[in-house]
Symmetry: C2
Subunit: 475 residues, 2 copies
C-alpha cells in the first residue's frame, strides 16, 4: 500500500474531469503547433511557486497569440465542458495554475505586445503576456513608469487576475487602483470590454474590478489598460538597520500615521538580509532593516527623508545608507525582489508556504511580533519580508514538500497568523490571492453569506464551471 | 384627449408593479410610525434632482433605524416581489430614486451614527445616512478628513451607491478608491459583509467594488468603512481668471501631465461665476476661472503653487487670488459646491439636464470647447463647471421641465456630447451614475455583451428584480 500523499490533505477535494480525445483533436486542428501535449510542456504549465507539487498537469497547452485564439480555445473547451486555466509566467504562489480538475492550459505569454502608449493621458494598453518590466521598458522614454511590482517579473494579465501589488503600493495603490480597462474572453468565448481610458467612471457595475482579482474564474483577460505615472523629479532610496523587528515596525506605523507620502517602505528581517547578501552579493549589515524610497521634488524628497530619519532615530534606527544613483537603487530593489528566491534557495530542495496577511496599520506590530515568536518556537526555518507601509507582511515557512510533519507545522503557524489578522480587522491575503490554499481562510474572513454571493456571480457568468474551476471557493 | 407627457419619451418604458394592500399592512404592523403612506412623504421620496418630475411616487416609505429594519423591510417586500428603493438625502441627478416600477422607499437618513473612528488606522465606519459633512465633523478633532465631496451634502450610503466623487478626486480618488468595506442587505434580506479594514486585499471577488456604483440594484448598503487622510500641514486655495475657457482647460491639462499633485482643480465658466456671485455674495470677476487647492507641507504647497502659476501665466491666466485662512477657503468651496443650485436658481422654475462626461485628459480641450460651441449655437441657457483635473465636466442645460422642445434640444446636446466623449475613449458618466437617464449611453459605452454580463450578475443576485428595478439597464 502506498503512503497517503502528504500534500493531499491540504488540497480541496475536487473531482477531476475527463478531457475527451475529440477536444484534443479539435485543438490540434485549430492550433497546429500552437497546441502541445508534450509531457514536459504540460508539467511546466501545471505548477507554480506554491508548495503543491503533486497535482497532475493539464491535458494540453494552447499557446495563444491573439484574443481570437483565446476565444476559440475557450469555445472548443466549453463545447466539451472542459476546464481552461490561463497561464502567464507561472509565478503565482497559491496554486492558481494547478489543474486540480484537469482541463487545458491557455498560455498567453506570446500575447506580449504593448498595444498603445498614451503618454499624454498617462495610460498604456498591453496584451496580457507583457511583463511588468516590459511595460516599464516601453514607457520610460516618455518619462513615465508603472509602479506595481510583485517580486517576480510577472505578466500584467496574471497581476490583474490576482489583484497583485508589491513595494510601491503604499503610495500608488495596487492593481485594483491601477487597471483602468480590460478586454476579457468570457466562459462562452465571447469578447467583452470593461471600463474606458477615463480616470473615473460611474457607468454601471464595475466589471473591471470584478475581473481584477477573480483569478481566471470569471474570464480570461486578453488586454489591459493601465495607469502610468510621471517619473518623479527626485528619487532617493535608503536602508536603515534597527535593533529589533519591533523598532522597525513601530517606525513604519508612525510614518504612515503621520501621512508621509513614502513611496516604498519594506521590512526585511536579519535572516533574509543574510540570504539576500548571499544571493545578490550585497554587504548589508545583518539586522532587521527597513528599505525605503522617497519620490517627489528634490525639496519634497529631502523633507520626507528628514522626517523619517527623525522617527527612525526615536526607535533606535541607525544611520541611513542612501542610494540616489539609479544603478545603486536598482541593485537594492532587485535584491529585494529576489528576496523570496534567495530565501528559498537558502534551504536546498525546500518549498515555501507563504503567508500574506494584511492588517490595519495600528495592529501591525502585534501581528508581526506574535508571528515571529510563534515561528521561532516552532523551529522551522522561515523568512520575514513585508510591505509594512500597507500593513502587509509575508512569513515564508521553508519546508520539504514531502515531509508531512513540516507541512503540518507550517500550516499550523499559517492558521494561527491568519486567525489573528482576521480578528484584527485584516485580510488573509493582501496580494497573493486565494487560489487553492486559502479557500478556508476566505470563508473565515468574508463569511458564508458573502462567499455564497461570490458563488452566485460565478455560476451566473460560468454555469458549466469551466474557468479555472476549484479555485477561490469550492464549486 | 390629453397632450402626451413631454417627459415620458425620455424615460425607459417599464411596467409598474402593484403593491398589494397586504404588504402595506405588514409594513405598518412591523414598523408602526416608522412607515408612512402620506402623500407628501411619498412624493418627497419619489423624486430627486433630475429633470423627471412626473413619475408617480412609491406606495409607502419605511424610515429604517437599523440594519434589522432594512432587512425586515426587504424581506416583506421580497415576499410580495415588490420593488424597494433605498433613499439617502435625495440629491441624485439621474432619476435613481424614482419609483418607475412602483414599490416602497426605504429611507436610511435616520441611520446616521458614526459607528467607530479608528484614527490610528485612518478609517471610519458609519451608517449609510451619515452625510459627508457629518463624517468630517466627526473626525476633525483627530486631525483627519474625508475628501470625497459631491456638491450636495449627500449621504455616504448614496455616495457609495453612485460611486460619487467631487472636487478632491483628482488627488484622493473617488468612492471606488475610498470605500474599504461594506455591510449590505441582499435581495433576500440577508446581511453580508464585504472587505475588511486592511488597506489592500486579494481575498476573492471584489464585492465591495461591485456594490459601489450599483445604484441600489444589487443590495442596500447599511454600513460603510471609509479611508481617512491626515489634514495636510498646509493648505492653500487660489482662484485664477483666464481670457478663455480654452486657456483654463489647457492650463489644467499641463498641470496633470506634469504630475503636479494638485488637490483640487475646478473650472467655472463666466456665466456660472455670475450665478455664484449672486447666490453666495462673492465678488469674483466674471471670467472663466480655475479654482484650485494645494495640500502638503508648507514648502511643498509653495512649490506646487509656483509651478502652477508659471503654467497659468503661459496661457494668460491672471494673477492668483490666494485664500489661505480656513474661513476664506470654506467660503470659496461652499460657493463652488452651491454652483449647481446657484445656476438652477438663476432661471426660475427650470430643471437641469446635466452632462457628466469624463475623457482622457489629452482630449479635454476638444471635449469642452465643442460642447460649449454647440450649446451656444443651440441658444439654451446653460452652465459649465468641471472637475477638470480628472477630465470630468458638467454642462447643465436649464429647461422648463414641461417644454418638450427645450427638453429635446437639451437631450440632443447631451447625446452629441456623450457620443464625442465615448469616441475619445471616455465615459458617459464620471460620477453621477446611470440611473434612468443614461441607460442608452451605457450600452453605447460598454457594449451589449458587457451590459449582458451586468444583467447576468443582477439576475443572479436579485432574481425577482426587486432592488431599485428599471435603473442602469432595462430588466
Amino acid at each position: 500500500m502506498n503512503a497517503p500523499d502528504p500534500q493531499a490533505a491540504w488540497l480541496p477535494d475536487t473531482p477531476r474531469r475527463e478531457v475527451p480525445e475529440a477536444l484534443i483533436k479539435a485543438l490540434k486542428t485549430r492550433f497546429a503547433s500552437q497546441c502541445s501535449t508534450a509531457l514536459a510542456v504540460r508539467e511546466q504549465h501545471g505548477r507554480d511557486e506554491s508548495a503543491f507539487t503533486h497535482v497532475p498537469p493539464p491535458a494540453a497547452v494552447v499557446f495563444a497569440e491573439s484574443t481570437a485564439d483565446v476565444a476559440d480555445a475557450v469555445k472548443l473547451a466549453a463545447a466539451h465542458k472542459v476546464p481552461v486555466i490561463p497561464f502567464g509566467t507561472g509565478s503565482s504562489l497559491e496554486g492558481h495554475l494547478l489543474a486540480v480538475q484537469g482541463g487545458i492550459s491557455i498560455d498567453v505569454a506570446r500575447m506580449n505586445r504593448v498595444l498603445s502608449v498614451n503618454a499624454e493621458d498617462l495610460t498604456v494598453t498591453v496584451q496580457p503576456g507583457v511583463t511588468r518590466k516590459a511595460v516599464n521598458e516601453a514607457v520610460k522614454t516618455d518619462g513615465l513608469f508603472f509602479p506595481i511590482d510583485p517580486g517576480a517579473d510577472a505578466s500584467i494579465g496574471g497581476m490583474a487576475a490576482t489583484r497583485a501589488s508589491g513595494t510601491n503600493a503604499v503610495r500608488y495603490g495596487t492593481m485594483r487602483e491601477n487597471v483602468l480597462a480590460l478586454e476579457v474572453v468570457t466562459a462562452q468565448g465571447n469578447v467583452i470590454r470593461t471600463g474606458t481610458r477615463a480616470k473615473k467612471s460611474s457607468a454601471g457595475y464595475d466589471l473591471t474590478r470584478l475581473m481584477v482579482g477573480s483569478e481566471g474564474t470569471l474570464g480570461i483577460i486578453t488586454e489591459v489598460t493601465l495607469k502610468l505615472y510621471p517619473l518623479p523629479e527626485a528619487i532617493s532610496a535608503a536602508t536603515c538597520q534597527f535593533p529589533s523587528i519591533e523598532a522597525a515596525v513601530r517606525t513604519t506605523i508612525q510614518i504612515i500615521q503621520m501621512g508621509i507620502p513614502i513611496a516604498r517602505c519594506e521590512l526585511i528581517d536579519a535572516a533574509t538580509v543574510r540570504a539576500v547578501n548571499a544571493h545578490s552579493k550585497l554587504g548589508l549589515r545583518e539586522a532587521p532593516m527597513l528599505l525605503m524610497e522617497f519620490h517627489g521634488s528634490p525639496t519634497g524628497v529631502h523633507e520626507q527623508a528628514e522626517l523619517v530619519q527623525d522617527i527612525a532615530a526615536e526607535f533606535g534606527g541607525e544611520s541611513f545608507e542612501w542610494a540616489t544613483a539609479p544603478e545603486d537603487r536598482t541593485r537594492l530593489w532587485t535584491a529585494r525582489h529576489n528576496a523570496y528566491f534567495a530565501a528559498v534557495q537558502s534551504v536546498p530542495g525546500c518549498r515555501c508556504i507563504t503567508t500574506d496577511a494584511c492588517v490595519p496599520i495600528s495592529r501591525l506590530a502585534d501581528a508581526v511580533l506574535t508571528a515571529v515568536a510563534e515561528a521561532d518556537a516552532a523551529g522551522l526555518p522561515y523568512f520575514l519580508v513585508g510591505h509594512v507601509g500597507d500593513g502587509n507582511f509575508h512569513m515564508g515557512y521553508l519546508i520539504d514538500p514531502d515531509n508531512a510533519d513540516e507541512r503540518a507545522r507550517a500550516e499550523h503557524l499559517n492558521h494561527q497568523l491568519v486567525a489573528r489578522a482576521l480578528a484584527m480587522g485584516g485580510t488573509c491575503t493582501g496580494e497573493h490571492g486565494v487560489g487553492l490554499h486559502k479557500m478556508g481562510f476566505l470563508v473565515d474572513e468574508a463569511g458564508e453569506a458573502s462567499v455564497a454571493m461570490m458563488r452566485a456571480v460565478k455560476h451566473a457568468l460560468d454555469p458549466d464551471n469551466i474557468l479555472n474551476p476549484g479555485k477561490i471557493f469550492s464549486l
